[in-house]
Symmetry: C2
Subunit: 473 residues, 2 copies
């Protein structure tokens, strides 16, 4: 069963308890139950609602489960009208050119900030300089990372789980963020990694055939492998393929599906009665790799190995659900590391779209395309004229070229110098863009060179269920 | 896409079209669309409703999808208050001691009666005397059986699919009905058979662990094998196990799940928002074996082999859904043969319950238990006193012992003689029960003897995905 009600409950558990208790009260009233029985049930309901308000800081509202800032609409559009940012796996929206207010998001989602103390702890544990994504707050939020470090310091094993929804052949630099960071985590902690290619999800959500979705899995796997993952410690799997190859995966999917109601996925993901039953049940498929016995070939059937999931914050709803279910089916809750979103060239208000070639730098872009795209499309925080820029300076907080540099320029000092110079007006927009182009061109060229070396045989090996070199007690 | 609307549509397709068009009209009105656009959409809606009434014989009602006689309630109880029989996979209820009115059910479900002509055709095609279940209307309804016979007469292949939900170790004689008949079909048509053990379903619906559900699968498989199936032509599979062993099964499940909405399963199965997402998506798992490429090892990846499903009529909702989806994903619709229900010892008003040992004869019962149960519990159509019985005769239509004899006594002439003698009063209830006991005792003893010979190795072989001896063009 779930945690004890009251102080131990998560906002979502409390929300679900209120829904259940509300239904109970209604059924008592409909069944004309004795008045004192109804009164007592109503009293419990009110007390649950008060606990909810105390925990979440907002009144319980049946249309507004915790973590979702406003009632859901079909398009997600109305959700932002109240000036709040809106984030779920399909919609990221903010009205601010600086992008999402991530501090607010931490409060909304109930996660924890990755603070200096935690970063120092990672450094002490791994004896490695923290990755620039940690130093610069790109991975900014977590759940239970201290538990993972406790375990690691006690020589207890954990594994990494991340993934990609292969909706097209074209991946852009933003798609690399979780993989770049995950590769670093794999290296510094020396742990196994499973990568889910959710081609079943893309088949369900998009106008694709199964064959197309699986084809994108194979193409995208090459880009992921090109990030440098250790073939001896990495298993990449297609849902469509692996479900039919693993004795453990489907069993965990069914276990999760037994412990999540339609009411819950409606609350978490905004599904409606018109959605297909595939979408409605898919969250269990994304949840299942969080449990180590989904990979008996790696973990020898053990169900108790801690999982750590690096992902963009928009995937958190899946794992809030997973963490809610875990103790009820006897598994440890997965820990999480959340990244910010990679901004579109046009500005940080939205996530990028793989279907708009000008919204980002693609991994297939030539040096010339990169130059043209940055110069033509990267939203600038500069002034309208050189004179004004020299006088008042540019705004790094909204300048997309500067944001991209925070993702990809390794040298902290140089980045800080650029920030100062651009802000003061000493550096012009053209110069800033030139710096970014000079960083991106070799980065993409090197990726392309590594990808060329990824053979079909390598993809096949990465995707074969097998033992990984993984030592655990 | 689905069949053309109009004459080609099934009641369910038409029902769903009305739901969709209704939503369209509502959205036009909400969006304050031009009046003529709304008028035209309303006109289409009314025309769909008229087609529906013409086809189904009842007004369209949003709470009452075709095949469901009354709005669904949580318990299914209210559904029978209007004197109508109620049948779905979880509830079979009638107020008549004669049992369900199957002719009405054919009209409600939109299936076809198995008439003398069809039975003669089966006899001509197989050169075999029709099975007593056909001769006596125990398999009474079908969908597309003529298509199967067309194909068979043209040397085109088909295969059989039936199944069992393993909810306990204990199976009763009623559970054997579909298997006895399926074995006969396998023999006379010489075709392969797949048997689904839906242990995932039982895990989702009952208070069972995965291990318990799978354990019941193995136990029940022994009883099924004891019916005499040809090991070279029969594949028995556990959903929990086979999903992780087949490249084709999960792909078909996802395909089906993409083409069925929550609205549809709500209409067909009465699911509610409080049901777990496992239940909501399960119908796709029961549907998938209807398509031959779920078994690539048997059908060499071919997707076009016709499927014939012998099952009790309460399973029809699953296959109405399956037949609705089939053309939209490019597969042939499965054909069906429906059986009546096997009555409980206490009377034909209800289906039997595996949890009430006195409600039926179990496959584990001793000769003595059989004798006691029949004598003590079999509902009698006889009179209160011998004198009255001699004078007025008994009622075979409600007498459970006589009903059981129609299932198990092979000799038509003897059965007819018993019917006459019991109706006239020449045969007493004790004599009728004695006859039944004499039929059941050796039947159960022989089953037990055959079951004893079923080894774990045989179960393993039946359940191993493998080639079957199956010749097709």
């Amino acid at each position: 069963m779930a945690d004890e009600p009251g102080s131990q409950s998560s906002p979502l558990q409390l929300f679900n308890s209120i829904v259940t208790q509300g239904e109970h009260v209604r059924s008592l009233k409909e069944g004309k139950a004795p008045k004192d029985e109804i009164d007592s049930a109503v009293k419990s309901l009110l007390s649950l609602k008060m606990s909810y308000k105390a925990l979440v800081g907002e009144e319980y509202s049946p249309d507004c489960p915790p973590g979702n800032p406003a009632p859901r609409s079909k398009s997600g559009l109305e959700a932002t009208e109240g000036c709040e940012d809106f984030v779920d796996p399909w919609t990221v929206r903010t009205s601010s050119a600086k992008g999402i207010d991530y501090d607010k998001l931490i409060v909304q989602f109930g996660s924890s900030k990755i603070d200096k103390e935690l970063i120092n702890r990672v450094e002490r544990a791994t004896h490695q300089r923290p990755h620039r994504f940690l130093r610069r707050g790109i991975f900014f939020s977590h759940r239970d990372m201290n538990q993972v470090l406790d375990a690691y310091e006690n020589q207890k094993p954990f594994y990494l789980y991340t993934g990609r929804g292969p909706s097209s052949e074209a991946m852009h630099v933003g798609h690399l963020i979780p993989f770049i960071f995950t590769k670093w985590l794999q290296d510094v902690f020396n742990v196994p990694l499973v990568v889910q290619m959710s081609d079943d999800e893309k088949y369900l959500w998009k106008d694709l055939t199964l064959e197309q979705a699986y084809g994108y899995t194979l193409e995208n796997a090459k880009d992921i492998i090109a990030c440098g993952f250790d073939i001896n410690k990495t298993f990449i799997f297609s849902d469509l393929e692996y479900m039919g190859m693993s004795p453990g995966f489907y069993k965990n999917v069914v276990k999760i599906q037994k412990h999540v109601t339609f009411n819950q996925v409606k609350g978490i993901f905004g599904f409606t009665d018109s959605d297909c039953i595939g979408k409605i049940s898919f969250p269990a498929v994304q949840a299942a790799p969080s449990f180590s016995n989904s990979f008996p070939q790696i973990f020898h059937g053990r169900a108790d190995i801690q999982c750590l999931i690096p992902c963009a914050i928009d995937q958190d709803p899946y794992f809030r659900m997973t963490r809610d279910v875990a103790p009820r089916i006897g598994y440890p809750k997965p820990a999480l590391l959340h990244s910010t979103f990679f901004p579109a060239l046009q500005g940080a208000q939205t996530k990028m779209s793989a279907s708009d070639p000008n919204s980002s730098i693609f991994l297939t872009d030539s040096a010339k395309q990169i130059k043209t795209k940055v110069n033509k499309h990267a939203f600038s925080g500069g002034r309208d004229t050189v004179e004004e820029h020299r006088q008042f300076g540019g705004n790094c907080d909204v300048d997309v070229s500067f944001m991209y540099l925070t993702f990809f320029l390794e040298d902290d000092d140089r980045l800080e110098q650029i920030r100062k110079d651009y802000t003061s007006g000493a550096m012009l927009t053209g110069e800033l863009k030139k710096t970014l182009i000079e960083v991106l061109q070799p980065l993409i060229a090197e990726h392309q060179a590594r990808r060329k070396e990824v053979t079909d045989e390598m993809v096949k090996e990465f995707m074969t269920p097998r033992k990984l070199s993984f030592h655990f007690q």
